[in-house]
């Protein structure tokens, strides 16, 4: 494939010179930090679109039939398109670019102590493909009949037949956009893995790598290993949609469940692809603000590897009612329940790190702690869905939706915010305002629970998540369910309003925030050695050398409660680790 051409073409000489025109500095830059920002801001912009979609369909669900401000009447077709693209955007164009690509690009070279990615130009190409994919997706909202309306899982025949999904142009564009996005992340992932394998600072052994870097690398490997069948499936689905082949059409001898296998073989590891970087972020922040060494570094690492391997054997728990063999459901129930063990181990390790620490409740730390609490709710409710018996009842209800959002919101929203509050000083040289940060925190966490706790009740009562309006089903429509829907929608609007302080804080702090030195949080990892914000080339002429692990906090016999990785040992007697 064309990847190889670039892969082999780049490993030499990259003179990303010091010409300072706006275009070469910010648009066509090969600097990993700028590319990270490009991903970050594109992801945030896409997040606004995805958030707006959720506002529109939640308003419609709360007040069916009435006009939604800033949108208008939501037709069933528009509802389908909105929920489909809300899901797609939030996973492929928000969670992945922000958590993996933005953080990975910004942090990896800094944290492993080198000046850039090993393939800067592939990195730039990766973002450009990603940007094109985002543009294709946005363009698909404006073609006749609108954006794809076959749900983000794109099950055939709903996704393959235009007469069912009602979006003859939106559907293939959606598929092309997703495929391009996958290509972008494959390129980015190859870069991340190769960079961490080869470009680590002198002295940085495998167990000296900060956890967030490990997590992004493991996530990239998981993504790479799981996405292939989906690419193959996407090619077949695209042929079904546009050329009229019958890969997934039973009338032509095809099999619609095959798509579900191909999709979920990717779809379930994908959960861990975004979970792991968020876990890594939380681990970094908890260690720094508990002033304590990470509890069980190797255990967390091995757990995440085990988690990654297990995640390839759970996919059919999404298909318990799709006609899979009941004997297979035993198998997949077992593996699904097993997979909660490594996740629980990791959460316990985080709590163990907090134990006896001297905890600082900065905004970043608050977000990190709430990640543990909220993700736990998501994880525990997953047990009902992983067990085939209960899942047959709960499948495709709001219970699934609430469970899913209790995992993904902590990952994509809470994890991202904690990362931003933590690394903002490194990114832009100034701190975000803590007071407004805390208001933003409480204004995010409380309404978030307000949205999704009622939806658990709706789901347990059997309300189906893809019904555009229950008023059309008088038998199922009850007033108190409607009250819960209104409450959830109200909470969503509160949550959206509380993002305004964040954006104002973000923009104001860029110019007027409190100036941060290189190491405002007294943390150990190498990114805090570089100036804030790091210049081109990150560390100047001498790149740091590593002498110890990343989490040597509160080491006895030391005056300071932190011990940067690059600080040489004072004497031969005091070797650590």
């Amino acid at each position: 494939m064309a990847d190889t051409a670039t892969a082999t073409a780049v490993d030499h000489h990259d003179d990303h010179g010091h010409s300072e025109s706006f275009w070469s500095k910010y648009i066509f830059s090969t600097d990993h930090k700028i590319i990270g920002f490009q991903y970050l801001f594109t992801g945030m912009a896409m997040g606004l679109i995805g958030g707006f979609f959720s506002y529109v369909f939640r308003m419609h669900l709360a007040f069916p039939g009435s006009e939604v401000p800033f949108f208008g009447i939501v037709s069933p077709a528009a509802y389908n398109s909105l929920v489909t693209n809300h899901g797609t955007i939030m996973i492929f164009w928000v969670a992945m670019p922000v958590l993996i690509a933005a953080l990975g690009n910004f942090l990896i070279p800094l944290m492993i102590g080198c000046d850039d990615m090993v393939f800067p130009r592939i990195n730039r190409l990766s973002y450009q493909i990603f940007l094109i994919s985002a543009i294709v997706l946005i363009a698909s909202f404006f073609v006749p009949q609108g954006g794809f309306g076959g749900a983000w899982t794109a099950y055939p025949p709903l996704s393959s037949e235009a007469e069912y999904n009602g979006t003859p142009f939106g559907a293939p564009m959606w598929l092309i956009a997703v495929t391009l996005e996958i290509v972008a992340f494959l390129l980015g992932g190859i870069n991340f893995i190769t960079t961490v394998m080869n470009a680590r600072a002198k002295g940085m052994k495998l167990y000296d790598i900060p956890m967030v870097v490990w997590m992004i690398v493991i996530a990239s490997i998981l993504f790479m290993a799981s996405v292939g069948p989906l690419v193959a499936g996407a090619v077949m689905l695209l042929f079904d949609q546009t050329l009229g082949t019958g890969f997934f059409d039973p009338a032509a001898g095809g099999d619609p469940v095959l798509w579900q296998h191909l999709f979920w073989f990717f779809g379930h590891p994908e959960v861990y692809v975004v979970l792991l970087p968020a876990m890594g972020v939380v681990i970094e922040i908890i260690c720094t603000f508990a002033r304590k060494k990470l509890f069980g570094y190797k255990m967390i690492l091995y757990s995440s590897v085990g988690l990654g391997i297990l995640s390839f054997f759970v996919w059919a728990h999404h298909q318990f009612i799709s006609g899979v063999d009941p004997r297979a459901t035993y198998l997949f129930t077992t593996t699904t329940l097993l997979i909660s063990i490594p996740v629980a181990l990791m959460l316990f390790a985080m709590i163990g790190t907090l134990w006896g620490g001297s905890i600082r409740f900065t905004t970043a730390m608050l977000f990190a702690l709430s990640f543990i609490a909220e993700f736990l709710i998501g994880g525990v409710t997953g047990i009902w869905l992983g067990s085939s018996g209960t899942d047959i009842y709960l499948h495709d209800t709001y219970f699934v939706l609430a469970h899913f959002h209790y995992t993904f919101v902590p990952i994509a929203i809470i994890g991202t915010f904690s990362a931003l509050y933590y690394w903002f000083p490194k990114m832009f040289g100034r701190k975000l305002n803590e007071f407004w940060g805390k208001i933003h925190f409480w204004g995010t966490i409380i309404p978030f629970n307000g949205i999704f706790l009622p939806l658990f009740i709706l789901g347990a009562a059997g309300q189906h998540r893809r019904i555009a309006g229950y008023t059309a089903y008088p038998d199922l429509y009850t007033e108190n369910f409607q009250d819960l829907r209104v409450f959830a929608t109200g909470s969503l609007i509160v949550l959206i309003l509380f993002q305004i302080p964040f954006f104002v804080n973000f923009i104001v702090s860029l110019k007027r925030g409190q100036k941060a030195g290189p190491n405002p949080w007294n943390a150990n990892t190498l990114e805090w050695v570089a100036p804030s914000p790091p210049p081109h080339g990150n560390f100047g002429d001498d790149l740091p050398q590593v002498y110890r692990g990343p989490y040597e906090f509160s080491v006895e016999g030391r005056e300071e409660d932190y011990w940067p990785q690059n600080e040489p040992d004072p004497g031969p007697s005091e070797t650590s680790k």
């Binding site: 064309a2 490993d11 190769t194 940085m204 292939g228 193959a232 499936g233």
Partner: protein, 192 residues
């Protein structure tokens, strides 16, 4: 001007970064083709009609194409060993031999497609044929890309006696494309 990126020159694993990346490209491609081949096997076991359709594929052309590809892999190894010895002339010669055999493959493939289509076996005839064109088409696309990249390396790098390591990298990729064919050939042509 132009400062060299230090990261690119580092090699904590001992494997050059370029080669390492090619291995990861191959890893990601294995799962793409793996997904396709798994789909094929699933259908082949479930539907007896697939075996009947497979009887119409042209084993002779498939065999000839296997021969071209395997031979080309031999030449790319020769090109690599010449590149190791910094012998630009020989390396370029063998790279072009490889491209030529890739061209033979593509030519036979085109002839094969043309006869099949003219006999009524199109992308839409049945799911077997849909799969056949998708899998061999995707593979053929990889062959074509490999040929283009190899031509660029031969003319842009080896001729100018630089970036010798790229011969090995493209060789790895070429072997991978070869191996994919080694899976497709028995599945689509031999197993009737």
């Amino acid at each position: 001007m132009g400062h060299k990126i230090i990261a690119t020159g580092r090699s904590a694993t001992g494997i050059p970064t370029g080669r390492l990346a090619v291995w990861w490209v191959i890893a990601s491609e294995i799962v793409i083709f793996g997904g396709l081949i798994a789909t094929y096997l699933l259908n082949r076991f479930l539907h007896g009609s697939w075996a009947e359709s497979a009887a119409y594929t042209n084993t002779f052309i498939g065999g000839a194409n296997t021969f071209w590809l395997l031979t080309s892999s031999y030449f790319v190894v020769l090109a690599h060993s010449a590149a190791e010895k910094r012998d630009a002339k020989t390396a370029r010669k063998y790279l072009w031999y490889t491209i030529g055999l890739g061209g033979m493959f593509m030519g036979f493939k085109s002839y094969e497609y043309a006869t099949e289509i003219s006999h009524g076996f199109t992308l839409f005839t049945s799911n077997f044929w849909s799969f056949y064109y998708t899998a061999t088409g995707l593979h053929g696309f990889h062959v074509l890309c490999g040929m283009v990249i190899m031509a660029i390396i031969a003319e842009n790098d080896i001729k100018k006696e630089r970036n010798w390591h790229r011969v090995e990298n493209i060789g790895l990729y070429w072997h991978f494309v070869d191996i994919v064919w080694i899976f497709l050939f028995p599945l689509l042509y031999i197993a009737k």
